[in-house]
Symmetry: D3
Subunit: 172 residues, 6 copies
Amino acid sequence: MTRGFYIGRFQPYHNGHHNVVQSIAEEVDELVLGIGSAGDSHSQHDPFTAGERIMMITKSLVDSDLVTYAVPIEDLDRNSVWVSHVQSMSPDFDVAYSNNPLVIRLFEEAGVEVRQSPMYDRHVLEGTEVRDRMIAGDDWESLVPDAVVEVVEETGGLERIQRVSDSDSNGE
Amino acid sequence: MTRGFYIGRFQPYHNGHHNVVQSIAEEVDELVLGIGSAGDSHSQHDPFTAGERIMMITKSLVDSDLVTYAVPIEDLDRNSVWVSHVQSMSPDFDVAYSNNPLVIRLFEEAGVEVRQSPMYDRHVLEGTEVRDRMIAGDDWESLVPDAVVEVVEETGGLERIQRVSDSDSNGE
Amino acid sequence: MTRGFYIGRFQPYHNGHHNVVQSIAEEVDELVLGIGSAGDSHSQHDPFTAGERIMMITKSLVDSDLVTYAVPIEDLDRNSVWVSHVQSMSPDFDVAYSNNPLVIRLFEEAGVEVRQSPMYDRHVLEGTEVRDRMIAGDDWESLVPDAVVEVVEETGGLERIQRVSDSDSNGE
Amino acid sequence: MTRGFYIGRFQPYHNGHHNVVQSIAEEVDELVLGIGSAGDSHSQHDPFTAGERIMMITKSLVDSDLVTYAVPIEDLDRNSVWVSHVQSMSPDFDVAYSNNPLVIRLFEEAGVEVRQSPMYDRHVLEGTEVRDRMIAGDDWESLVPDAVVEVVEETGGLERIQRVSDSDSNGE
Amino acid sequence: MTRGFYIGRFQPYHNGHHNVVQSIAEEVDELVLGIGSAGDSHSQHDPFTAGERIMMITKSLVDSDLVTYAVPIEDLDRNSVWVSHVQSMSPDFDVAYSNNPLVIRLFEEAGVEVRQSPMYDRHVLEGTEVRDRMIAGDDWESLVPDAVVEVVEETGGLERIQRVSDSDSNGE
Amino acid sequence: MTRGFYIGRFQPYHNGHHNVVQSIAEEVDELVLGIGSAGDSHSQHDPFTAGERIMMITKSLVDSDLVTYAVPIEDLDRNSVWVSHVQSMSPDFDVAYSNNPLVIRLFEEAGVEVRQSPMYDRHVLEGTEVRDRMIAGDDWESLVPDAVVEVVEETGGLERIQRVSDSDSNGE
């Protein structure tokens, strides 16, 4: 039995993530999706709560044969203990998937096997693109699984990100 | 669709918890199990990591018809914001289950419906009893689901709690 | 112009505190009441929020000629920086009042003048006594200013402390 | 009796804030001024301590008929619990005043009534403008209440902000 | 070259610690003394600051041939990341010395070699005994290296522990 | 006996720092080197752990006649208590050395004597320059003491900073 670990902020969970998961599914029996920066929400960069992101992931993968776990990981803001923190919060895993150089380095220094997650079309599918379209009122629904559209609608997520995105440019 | 929320430390997940879950299952469609004090581990009072407890819960409920989520909740050590913290980490829920007076009070002040979780035989099934038996080398396996026995064995959990239980009485 | 500083948890603000304030009033022009452990609430030892304690103090002293400030001070849990923390949160003060040996020592090491606050009948007026009577349903109203009775009633404080006081003796 | 809540960093309290308070005064009986980022000080963006800001506000409003409370609010850096945090630190309030989109959104999601605070001449009165003038040695006194000038002078605040403003452009 | 790691609170550094260090010196070339609970001070249980404890250790070992490092380690209050935290704060080490069951367990789970530190007369030399004698005014000087007596005298440490030891039994 | 205090992030300890230390050595008998942002590591701005920086400093100064202490100082992110924090972590010192305006201001407000550290050729020796050369693969060895080259090589520090420096420009 092989269990993988895949970390992301999933703000929101989009087709790029979904393709990566489906690709990883061919290599592992079970997969933990670590929801990074779990405590952050209600900002342009991190609009959704950990609970909302759990729903996005769980509902998007409900028909998958892969056994998955969606686990929120709060920030500790200390790179040197990050791997230990992740390992304590997650079911035990054999291999970590990431394209992020810092994440790769931290796992490697800790002796954890890391595989580059299979690439996907970054220009279209990046989280930034999805969030920008949400704010602008452009088509974002085609970039995410249907289940994510449902969660965003139920939680008023579209109105939220449009509202809070004004904050950064707002002085005092 | 009704979703319930049931919080506990689950150190470990035992038959008492399991009976409560099965009883709640008759009232809700989905259930979130909030794993409290998620950051605590390796002590007599809190021997298991959040990741290990996720495994105990998930494996114990794998054959259940109930849709369940096991969500680690780190301590914030501030009662006045605890409900908001829980709500941000958990999928949205309609009713909370607890017998703990503080938890009940906090949810009530926040306007969340709380139901007393159905009672179970507390004297035998309390977590303290399970942990004491683990330390003493007495029969603890009969007090927990089989899946929990497996998780404890795989993680060396029995040796761990026996070892760290010496720390409290150890001066400097 | 002389400004004094008087720290306490004020759980709740009672006649003992009130007598101390009236005694200090003869020595200073203005008085800062530092509300310690401001983040703690909803427990038997610390039932009331900082906001509720601000109300108790402000309303109890509304007719006083003394200029007072009620300032919540959150715990930093580090004695060595506590005085600096207090000084940053409080209007500048010339003298600190306390009977607590730790507080006295910390101010003295920092070069702040400390005066023993005038003594009052400790056996009856201690906060512990007030809280115990609240829980037992005995007369506690005679131990606090009338304004405190009002605040406790408006916030449902009596029910709260009676409810949460059951938590400590409650296993899992 | 209606009590309002108005949050700001008040770095420093300036005429723009003062006009807003006077406008709110026509709608409420009491007003809580929440001093945000209370733990921040000694930087170009946040030069003054919470204690100094309490003094600015209290002295500026000493002749007002409005009953006011100046309450420091330390950052929790977690939007999802921010409203609960504010509510625990503040006397109970009926309506919140803000023009900040994030603050408005957070209060709305928590079911708290929010009113846009009456607008004032933002270009001249923003805190950034006041701080820039302080650093440049230009006229800033005309942009703040007289009481604020006094507090800044007594605490050596002008020298402080001029000194620390060099830090950002200072390498290692 | 072999470097060892020896953790303690060193409140204060006493002859028991000193004997352990001298015994370890026969097995390693360099030794890191990790000063645990570095942020705690001014209490009966933890009277001395990290800086004072650095002085005690450094001065007591100044004539030793062993190369030593005295490194303060602040608490993280999370056992699962404690080893990573220690490793990031300390020069790299090959073997850890401890008699504390929790510490031993945590290092072992992280794959670090642990040796039981050579035993010493615990009944007389425990830190608790030294602190109790300090408070009672009994002979404590014979239980610690001469350099520690000097540091305690220079910092007013004896008066400090006697004063703060009254705090615990002091109600409010 | 005069003891000085010199704070820096020392990412890494370079010839500029080394020249400052040698210059300070003419004015003091002992010198504490406070290692700032001790908890930060594995980023482009802060590549090395506190433990690695202790090694760099200790090995670089091993032949110096000056008695030195290398003390990690974790961030508290609160300027108003920073001096107290430093004082608790460090052996007692008489004078602080710094060219950083914020540090100078904080020490001055706390009544600590501050001396401008003797200037050195900033353009070449800044830490930013050293780190940029490390990343680019240019000559960085000539900008640091030989002992620092050794530590960087032993810890794989060069590969680490080159790897993590890609993270900032990496979307999700």
